[in-house]
Amino acid sequence: MTADYGRRLWRFTKGAMLRNLPLMITCRQFDDFMLDYIEGNLPARQRRVFELHLRVCRECRDYLAAYKETMTLGKRVFGDPESALPEDVPDDLITAVLEARRSRPDSREPGL
């Protein structure tokens, strides 16, 4: 029996369990709930069902952990001072903005 066949057989058994046992959801349903779970928007009962799936499903547990780590990576990579985009702005850009403003003195909003 190959490892791949073994994994497929296990998934088939797990799929049948998840679809038929009470309070169980499939991995696909779990995936649909993920965003609301992470943002704390799931009602208590749905949260319990979600967390039950998390306990019985190794794949979704690993997946959720990697998904959360990805969110952290995305947030931190821009916040990192060393990789932050330079905030020093070329002087000619500042000049261009100020000149554009001066060249259209009539363009201010009415009623100021």
């Binding site: 990805t70 985009l85 100021l112």
Partner: protein, 205 residues
């Protein structure tokens, strides 16, 4: 909104600056532009990934802000108001540059079998974000992977996770339903997870 944006509190100095701007003072306009152009350009550059486009965007955003400063009523913080103008201007630039691709994300979405079971290779280890970001080379790699996301998903990930706007604000900026924002955000994060997997699994270390 972002911490460093919300830390801007309206104070006596800003009131004086706003009063000067409304009176059309050049000196105040100069100070206003110099105070805000740096972070606004950084926002534009994150969204547009191009120096020239970001410069155009920030120039247009500042001119728009200066012309409509009379409409700023102080209900939101000045920096929040400017952030929104910058984001809107960047989105207009993206739209005019090209149609946002729609279908390229499918191969990056999670895999399920015919029983709706997740197909996920076993994880023997998971490298932490902190560890991954500890070298400049890997930080560049993470940034390049974010930039590989199709624009219509990347933008939502950027606005929600990086610019820290809420779902309603993003929906409003893009003119789409909140449900659509949530679906696209989830897909964008899932796609990024797949793109970053070699790093997260430690295969690149």
């Amino acid at each position: 909104m972002h911490d460093r944006l919300t830390s801007f509190e309206a104070n006596a100095e800003d009131e004086e600056l706003l009063a000067g701007l409304r009176a059309g003072s050049d000196r105040h306009a100069d100070r206003f532009v110099r105070t805000h152009i740096g972070w606004m350009r950084a926002v534009a550059l994150r969204l547009l990934k191009d120096d020239g486009l970001a410069d155009d965007c920030v120039q247009e955003a500042l001119i728009k802000a200066l012309r409509s400063i009379g409409k700023f009523e102080g209900r939101s913080k000045l920096k929040t108001w400017l952030h929104r103008i910058t984001v809107n201007q960047a989105l207009m630039k993206l739209r005019s540059r090209k149609r946002l691709e729609e279908d390229l994300i499918d191969p990056l979405l999670p895999d399920f079998d015919e029983n709706a079971c997740r197909i996920e290779a076993p994880w023997t280890q998971r490298v932490s974000a902190e560890q991954i970001l500890s070298t400049a080379q890997q930080r560049r790699l993470v940034l390049s992977k974010i930039n590989e996301l199709p624009d219509n998903y990347r933008i939502i990930l950027m606005l929600r996770d990086i610019e820290e706007m809420d779902t309603a604000e993003v929906a409003d900026c893009l003119g789409i339903a909140e449900g659509n924002v949530k679906v696209r955000l989830h897909r964008a994060r899932a796609a990024l997870k797949k793109l970053l997997e070699p790093l997260l699994r430690g295969d690149v270390l």
